[in-house]
Symmetry: C2
Amino acid sequence: MPRPRTPLLTVDVIIELSDRPEHPIVLIRRRNPPPGWALPGGFVDEGESTEAAAMREAKEETGLATKLVALLGCYSDPDRDPRGYTASAVYVAHAAGIPRGADDAAEARAFAPPDFPQPLAFDHGRILNDYLTFRRTGQPAPLRAPEQS
Amino acid sequence: MPRPRTPLLTVDVIIELSDRPEHPIVLIRRRNPPPGWALPGGFVDEGESTEAAAMREAKEETGLATKLVALLGCYSDPDRDPRGYTASAVYVAHAAGIPRGADDAAEARAFAPPDFPQPLAFDHGRILNDYLTFRRTGQPAPLRAPEQS
């Protein structure tokens, strides 16, 4: 069987700094196009689970060791990434310490919700909106089926 | 940039027949290797969301029109599929009517939890165990991070 073509699999992580009073979250300023602020994240490697990839990318881009606490959702709108078809498993995680941007991140900084910087790359504005609901209610991201959107 | 290699993206659907008293779920008997019973599902196409893929695969393999109600989890253990690296977004859905196996399904049949047939292909036994918890409590699948497994 020829290898099927599917959307490329990525992960993104909403890191809550649980050692600070307001539990701010960590965003990175992207070093590469498209410009803007974004959640730490990246491609899942073959032979790696999405959970392992999320923790690896969080570490590479912010220096933080994370404990994953929830799957917020699976984001797969075909238009979400201008570079091509990607689908992202987005996790919420806890961490402590000082984020330091590295790798694909020119900078990593903590922001207390709902005060997020602009512009946000990809569909990360939508993801952060869903996260605000999750943070308030514990509800995961809404499903976006064709007739349910 | 060369196209990265990531796990191939699939979806699986736990279809609850909500018009029957016990809300049984639909499993298919696989037409192709590996043999056994499985959740309806398959590869996500480029240009298709995971939600749309889940509804398409459910329709193709069982004939049922589904309404997605929850994302159970993202299953991405590198050993979950003997054919290669795949990660699956697994949805819970509602449907009504009589399932009829087609396409990759030699047969589609309803089973009242927890009485599932054997053998179950891939990691679908684990998924169904997680689903039993979801059905009882509303909790999504546990995360399986390296140090949290």
